[in-house]
Structure formats: structure tokens, C-alpha cells
Amino acid sequence: MTGFIFENAWLIPAMPLIAILLIAVLARGENRGLAGMIGSAAIGVAFLMTCWLGVSYLRLADQGAAAVTWSIEWLRYQDHLVVSLGTLIDPISLLLLVVVTSVSLLVHVYSLGYMAGDEGFSRYYVFLSLFTFSMLGLVLAPNLVQMYVFWELVGVSSFLLIGFYYTLPEAIAASKKAFIVTRFADLFFLAGILVLGFYVHQLVVAGGSAASVVGAATTQTQALDFATINADSVLLALKGQTGIFGTDLLTVAMLLVFVGAAGKSAMFPLHVWLPDAMAGPTPVSALIHAATMVVAGVYLVARMFPGFAASEDALRVVAAVGSFTCLFAAVIACTQTDIKRVLAFSTLSQIGYMMLALGVASAEHPAGFGASMFHLYTHAFFKALLFLGAGSVIHAVGSNEVTEMGGLRKKMPWTHATFLTATLAIAGVPPLAGFFSKDEILGAAWDGHHALIFGVGVFVASLTAFYMFRLYILTFLGGCRSAEAERAHESPPVMTIPLVVLGVMSLCGGWIGVSHFVLPGVELHAHLAVMGISVAAAAVGIGAAFWMYGGQTNRAETIARSLGGVYRLVKHKFYIDEIYLFLTHMIFRFIAAPAAWFDRHVVDGAMNLSAAVVHRFAAGMNVFQTGQVQTYGIWMINGTILVMVFLWLVQR
């Protein structure tokens, strides 16, 4: 089971890395326009290689192969504790590869127009390529350590790109916020890796039943490989050990890993960084904060799904957090007026959907797993399209506020058509992409008899249709509400072509049976009833949006006023940011400030005291250092005499 491309899949992430070096060397000063070309070409090659890999893999999968691993030894601590660098190609990593390279390619091309003339054009492409490199490395990682390294790298590149406009204070604040929140979550992920590494390593070294099974499965037992961790015998052994708070060790480890995943995927209550991250350039939001990086958490949970499934409690937490975030973010999205913020909350909500789908899956009924991956795939396309469309609108109008837009349908026909396609897709209107994946998720929840989660899913489907059409109506329909909107015109072809490509993907993406690809051999069946319910929910949402915002009436304001306090609460995102601010102030006042005082006065005081003592002593000794040979001679003679007297006394 080999082939050139399987052994050289590392070339795919290497392409953007090469692009970074080339941009750094060639695209300087006057030549900075070259940066976009180099970046786009490199990612284009990576995309073609991914296609090649995909075709080869499909041919291989027909012969019954599941996963292809290729790796080289990176770090060796002991015979059994070896960390390797390599590539793991299986259906989900291949799916992510396709998503990342294609969306990244389109964003690279789109940015040629969007970022044209920007001061930091080549810097932008370096960051974008860095991100693509990191994300591809993360997707291909065959073990937890490599994944963690690239996990942090995507965090860094996300930080750099959010703070791209580094002269704007809000961009700086947002980048710091994103970095600190995700870093905080990554700490738990690291703890999870350490727990898993320690105990799995122990199991492997200790011999016993687990080791023999694992040892047979892999020629070299590597404790942190996904293949080892996901082996049934290891999971059973981990489940047998007691952890903390009355849970088993597996649950503890999986929950720690999930906190990391929730941080990166912006699940409640670690979601606060994502809406602020919209301070970065819009194509970046499309790539990182909609299509790829934020789904890394979902990917991680999917990657370690056997572990989550074996520990049912951890999976239940995933389902609960996913459904709550899904509902919570959808409610907030209904009240926001910043076009990118609406999309950000929509992203939160949709990622919640994916987590929810993973949560309702189990080892026996993995339908939710396939549905989650399917939704990840369709969502990447239509959400990237929505962001790029929003970018096109922002480019034309020069504002993020929908209250200053309106009536752009005639002025920006291509943007309008593709945005509408994506809106229909996310709302779940058949036969667009979002309909199929959302329907599979709801079907999986229905099959798993998770009545509450199913209810939440249907309600959120309706809310999604509502807020997306609210956004669409406010942006494109009605009359122009500002002078800039009057003057708006269509973006250049370099920006509209990626929109059209993504539009086609949003239209047809759902026709590909991703679930069958991800879960080969699993019986999946469609539910006509669930389909009916989901279409009805979407129709209700769309109808409500047109009823409230369609005409010249001000029904929306009337309803908002009648809701009063509740509306204000939602509008301010349930004051979560304020709560965090309050908590951090408390931490500053009662922990950080005393600690700083202690450091400044006690620790530094002790240091200064010892320094002062030495200084005084040195000043005293300084008297002897005259630089006069005569003084030294006198001391020498006196010393000699003293020694002689001493010896004389001793002799006697």
C-alpha cells in the first residue's frame, strides 16, 4: 500500500513553507506584488497534489485500506517513547486537506484583489502561507505531539493575522484576546496529552494484554500515535483506571483534550475571542475563523472519537457544550448589526452543530460522526463564501454596519447572487449543500433518541434561516441607507471568481456522499420526516425574516422594544465579555496586585539587600587597592613577618 504521493504527502504542507521563504527573499519593496503570485501558486500546487492524493486514496480505499501512515523519527526518549513526524492519511484528514487547500487557494486569489495596494501586502501573504502550512501540518499529524505543535502554530498565525492592522487598537486587543483565550485552553490540551502519554506509555512498557495487542498492530509502539491511543485495548485499560472526581482516567483525559478543542473551536464559554477576531482582514476571517482553524477543534474530537465514544461521559459533555453554544450563538446573531459579527456568531453556532453531531454519535451508531464531518465540509464552503461576499460588500461600502448598507442587489450582481446562494445553503434550503449535512445531523440526533438535542437542532435551524435572511435583506434589499452604499460598485473579477467557485461548491457540495466516504460500510438512511421538519423550520425562519425586515414597516423595532431587557441582554451578548472583564479585574486586584507587591518589595528587597551588602563590602575593600606598589609591598612584608612570627611560635 504505497505510492509516491503517500510517502511524499509531506510536500503538501511544505509548499506554503517554501512560499514563505520565496516571498521573504523575492517580494520586497517594489516587488511586493509578487508575494500574492508566489503564495497563490504554491497553494495551487498543494491543491493539485491534494487532488492527486485524493484520487490515489480512493483507488486504495476500494481495495479495503483504511489509513496510510508515513513517518520519520523525530524525538527518541526511550525505546518506547518515540515521537515521530509524519503524515496520516485517512478519510477525515483527506477531507480536511481538500477543504483547507481549496478554501485557502480561493482566499489567496481573492486577497490579490482585496489586499491590493496595502502596505503590508507581502507580510499578509507570509502570514497567510504560514497559517496554511500550520493547518495542513495539523491535519496530517499522525500523533498528538505533532498535532500540538501545529495546533500552537495555527494559534500564532491566527494571532498575527487578527492583529494584521497593528495600528488599530481594537485589532491589537482582539489578537491578544484570541491568543490568550486559546492559549489558556491549550494548557488543558497539553495536560491531556501528558496524561494520555504517561498512562499509555506505562501500558505499552508494562507489557500485559494491552501491549501485546498494540505491539502487534504497530511495529514500533509509539505511545502518542493516534493509532495507539485509539486502539480498543488501550482505551479499555485507560477506562479501567481511576481518575479524579470519581471518574475514570479516560474521561479525565478526554475532557482535558476537549477543553483544548473547545478553545480553538470557540465553544461556550471560551467563545469570546471569535467575534472580536473579526478585526482582522475579511479574507482571513473567511479562511481561519470560518472554514479551517475554528473547525480544528471538531477535527481533534473526530480524530480521537474512539476515546470519546469509549468514555460516554466525555461524549455527553461534547453534546451538551455543542448544543448550548449552537443555540446561544444563534440567538445573539439575531441582534447584531455588524455584518462580520453576525457571520462570526453564525460560525459559532454552526461549529456547535458539528460538536452536537459528534456528541450524538456512538461507537455503534456513528452516523453523527459522518454527519459532523459532512457539515464541516459544506460549512467550510458556504461560510467562506459568506465571509468573502461580506468582504466584497465591505470593500465597496467601506463599513461593517448593515445599517449603512441596503439596496446593493443591483449594484453588485455577482456578489449578490453568490451571497444569496450561500445564505440559502446555510439556511438549509434543498437542494443546496447545507440542507443535506444539516439534515444528516438532525437525523443522527433523531436516531440516537436525543429528543432535547433534536429540538435544539430544529430550533437553531430555524433561527439560522432567520438571522441569515435578516442579514441578506438588510444588506442587499430595500433602499440604500448611506451615501457610500449609493456609490458602491461590483468588485474586480479576481474577487468575484473565487465567489463564483465557492457558490458552485455551496450549490453542489451536498450531492457528494461525504458520510459514506468517512464511514465506509455503515448503513445510512435518509429520514423523510426529519427532512420535512428541517425544511419547515427553514421556511419559518425565512418567512419571519421577510415579515420583520422585508417591507417598509418597522416591525423589528417594535418587537425589539416590546422585548425590552431581554433584547438588551442578547444585544450585549449576554454580557459574557463584561463578566470576563469583571473576573480578570478581580484576579488583578486580589491576586496579581498583591503578588506584584510581594515581588517588588520582598523578593526584590532581598535581592537588593544582598547586592547592597556586597557593594558595601567591596567599597571597604577598595581602600586596599591603591595601585601603589609600595602599599602592596608593605602588606606583603607585614604578612611575611606575621607568618614568620607564627612559625617561630609554633616551632617553639
Binding site: Q628, Q630, G633, I634
Partner: protein, 111 residues
């Protein structure tokens, strides 16, 4: 009855000369004074050579020959030292050795 001086007396004289020279080295500030003190110490050593020649091996003249050599070398050494003093005096207009602990004098920019 006057006894002729013994070895101890001669050595005491030599030690006295040496101590005077040592005292001079550490107390004189003038370079010429220090040179004189060094000559005193040198001469006490020469005196020791002669004394031991006389009292330990009175048949030989080795000690006295050695003493002559030391006197000649000391004369050469004095020449070198005095030449340095002359040069130093031209430079600094002083022979105070406490002023000579820096290669470059603060008031004189030439090294």
C-alpha cells in the same frame, strides 16, 4: 679586651642594612631614593657573600668573586634605572612614584 667581631655580628650588620633598605623602598617617594634603598639591600646581600666566604670557606675566593660580579651588575642596573628616571622626569616633571601608577597621565594626552 676587645674581641674580633664574630659571624653573628657581621650577619646582624647585614640584616640591619637590608632592613634599612627595605624601609627606604616602602617609605621614599622619590624614585632616586628608592634606587638608593635598593642599592643598600643589594649591598647587604653582597656583604653576606663575603661574610660566608670568610667564615665558612676561608681558603676559597668564590664568594668574593661573586660579590664583584654583583657589584658590576648592580652598576649596570643603576644605569638603566637612572635612564628611565630621566625619561620619566622629562615626561612628568616629577620623580614621585605615587604619580606613576598610570600609563597615561590625566594631564598628558600622549601615551
Amino acid at each position: 679586651m676587645l674581641h674580633p667581631p664574630t659571624l653573628t655580628h657581621w650577619l646582624a650588620l647585614s640584616a640591619l642594612l637590608f632592613s634599612i633598605g627595605l624601609y627606604g623602598i616602602f617609605t621614599r617617594r622619590n624614585a632616586v631614593g628608592i634606587l638608593l634603598s635598593i642599592e643598600l639591600m643589594l649591598n647587604s646581600a653582597v656583604l653576606n657573600l663575603v661574610i660566608f666566604n670568610r667564615f665558612v670557606a676561608s681558603g676559597d675566593v668564590d664568594g668574593q668573586v661573586m660579590a664583584l660580579f654583583v657589584i658590576a651588575v648592580a652598576a649596570a642596573e643603576a644605569v638603566v634605572a637612572l635612564a628611565i628616571f630621566v625619561s620619566f622626569y622629562r615626561h612628568r616633571h616629577t620623580l614621585d612614584v605615587t604619580e606613576a601608577n598610570q600609563i597615561c597621565h590625566p594631564g598628558n594626552s600622549t601615551p
